[in-house]
């Protein structure tokens, strides 16, 4: 299967400490790949490095997207090449309507596509299309609009940073369905989460700890491992111990 994203030997230092180190991963096209990890594992930083955000230029390593070395590419060039990111805590835009916001990323602006994207995240287009993308929206509403915006883009690769955070339990099922719809529409999904129940909708899963991938497998295998080893972890920042325990138990 084609690898849409490949990361080799990635290192990122922040405040004098490596928060991503010796990171390697290959993401297969048109699958939902999950990166599961506890808070502070470096998952969001990884998302920012892949998207090329300011302050997240890797100290070492390479990122390849569709076979191109994009390590030094701008955010815009990466987006134009077909990738995007849905932020965990999305920005607000005073004066910009939901419809305008969604249309920004669309290759061909269409009212139908705006309505469809809002319906996908269980927001009534009539009520939301002309709302302003600012603090008048609740955190959950803003989050759903962010997901609708990336859905409307039809990206080749979408990085979803904790799409379930701030979403109520009832809406969680909508979000899971949306993630599956991304795949159905031909997008590759890189799903970043700290909730094992969300990870289970993936095709493949990776466990991230202290800036490294320490395990990979099926979502159920990784979720099981996460529940057993990570939720009660008493040696955060020392992934080697987790690996040693795992190897010992096998």
């Amino acid at each position: 299967m084609n690898k849409i994203l490949r990361i080799e030997n990635l290192h990122l230092k922040k405040g004098g400490k490596y928060i991503i180190k010796d990171f390697n991963i290959e993401i297969e096209q048109n699958l939902i790949s999950v990166i599961l990890g506890v808070n502070g594992a470096g998952k969001s930083s990884l998302a920012y490095v892949i998207m090329g955000l300011s302050g997240y230029k890797p100290d070492k390593g390479k990122i390849f997207f569709k076979g191109n070395d994009i390590t030094d590419w701008s955010v815009t060039d990466r987006a134009k090449a077909g990738m995007t990111l849905a932020w965990q805590t999305p920005a607000n835009f005073e004066g910009l309507t939901v419809r305008e916001y969604l249309e920004i990323g669309m290759k061909k602006k269409s009212l139908f596509a705006v309505k469809e994207a809002l319906e996908k995240v269980a927001l009534d287009p009539v009520l939301y299309m002309n709302r302003i993308v600012d603090k008048s929206l609740s955190g959950g509403e803003r989050k759903r609009i962010e997901l609708a915006a990336v859905y409307a883009m039809h990206p080749d690769l979408v990085i979803l940073d904790e799409p379930d955070s701030g979403i109520d339990i009832l809406s969680l099922e909508n979000i899971k369905k949306l993630i599956l719809d991304f795949k159905k529409n031909g997008s590759t999904v890189l799903l970043i989460t700290h909730r094992d129940e969300v990870a289970e909708i993936g095709d493949k899963a990776f466990l991230m700890c202290s800036g490294k991938i320490i395990n990979e497998g099926t979502p159920s295998e990784i979720s099981e491992f996460f529940k057993d080893e990570c939720n009660s972890c008493n040696h955060k920042g020392e992934p080697e111990k987790t690996l040693a325990n795992n190897e010992g138990s096998e």
Binding site: S54, S74, A79, T84, W87, A91, E94, E100, I104, M153
Partner: protein
């Protein structure tokens, strides 16, 4: 002579259109309107219940507008003020009387497309009677040389149960030098909303002083300013709400976005002299939020395009 007037009118209309106005409004008999170039009244249309009395002066025109009691004007009045030559002074003294149970919306476009050294002074006196409304929007279109000095000064009274909204917008072309002042009293249950939206560039200078005086019980005021600065421009925004009546409520909201070498000051002043009144304020000066810009870049916009979208939305 007649040809000259027709040419001048055509040029004013062209600038009016460039500033976002619809020229068809001036030929619609249902739309009240007035066109003033320098100190010449080039056109005027009154509708039932509305009186427009212009009097040319040496450097401009004095205009008296009366909306008769009980009249609600259906279409917004279209006003076009401007100076076409590169140099000149225009002084407009406008007095608007919105009588009791009356109301009108008005959109004014002030156009100075060739300005190299233009002084434009607007003195407004607004008297709004009881249970009436007046919504006034002023949109400026200046040329690219920054040779305009604009001094709009509004004072007035919002009567019992009435509403006054005034929006000043200057986004196109250079600002030059802008000195806005508002001083408005609000009577019992009256409501005042003042909005200023300015995009300053190069060496532009912006000075905004907005003052709302809540004098009647239950009076309300919202003063909101958005100034985006780039180059070596400078702005100072002083927003004042004084609440002296019980249950009066006011809020001041000022945001100045600074880029390049621009500088900005924000001075919110809130005064309360009645224990049952309440006034709040928020003021922010800073650069554009990099998260907003990068979010739009992650949707495929260039950095320049993203800045344009963020600033355009902020000043919308």
């Amino acid at each position: 002579m007649a040809t000259k007037i027709i040419d001048e009118y055509a040029e004013m209309m062209k600038a009016y259109e460039q500033s976002g106005g619809k020229v068809g409004e001036f030929s619609n008999p249902n739309v009240p309107s007035i066109v003033i170039s320098g100190n010449k009244v080039l056109g005027k249309n009154e509708v039932k219940g509305l009186i427009i009395e212009p009097t040319p002066t040496k450097d401009g025109v004095d205009v008296k507008i009366i909306v008769k009691s009980g009249t609600k004007i259906l279409y917004p009045m279209a006003l076009c003020f401007g100076v076409l030559p590169r140099e000149g002074t225009q002084i407009i003294n406008m007095e608007a009387f919105i009588e009791d149970n009356a109301g009108m919306n008005a959109i004014s476009h002030c156009v100075f497309p060739n300005a190299e050294h233009i002084v434009h002074k607007m003195r407004y006196k607004v008297h709004i009677g009881k249970h009436s409304f007046f919504r006034y929007k002023e949109i400026h279109f200046h040329g690219s040389k920054g040779g305009v000095e604009v001094v709009p000064y509004t004072e007035g009274t919002v009567g019992e149960g009435s509403y006054f909204e005034s929006t000043f917008t200057l986004k196109e072309g250079r600002v030059g030098k802008l000195d806005i002042k508002y001083d408005v009293d609000v009577e019992k249950e009256g409501k005042l909303e003042l909005y200023s939206k300015v995009w300053a560039k190069e060496t532009d200078e912006v000075n905004i002083e907005e003052k709302g005086n809540l004098k009647g019980e239950g009076a309300k005021a919202l003063i909101k300013s958005r100034v985006v600065l780039e180059g070596n421009s400078h702005s100072k925004v002083v927003s004042v709400v004084n609440a002296s009546a019980p249950y009066s409520r006011g809020h001041v909201d000022c945001m100045e976005v600074v880029q390049d070498n621009a500088t900005a000051e924000a001075v919110p002043i809130v005064g309360v002299s009645n224990e049952l009144a309440k006034v709040t304020h928020e003021a922010a000066i800073g650069s554009l939020d990099s998260k907003e810009i990068e979010t739009l870049q992650a949707r495929g916009l260039s950095e320049e395009e993203a800045i344009k979208v963020v600033v355009g939305a902020l000043l919308k």
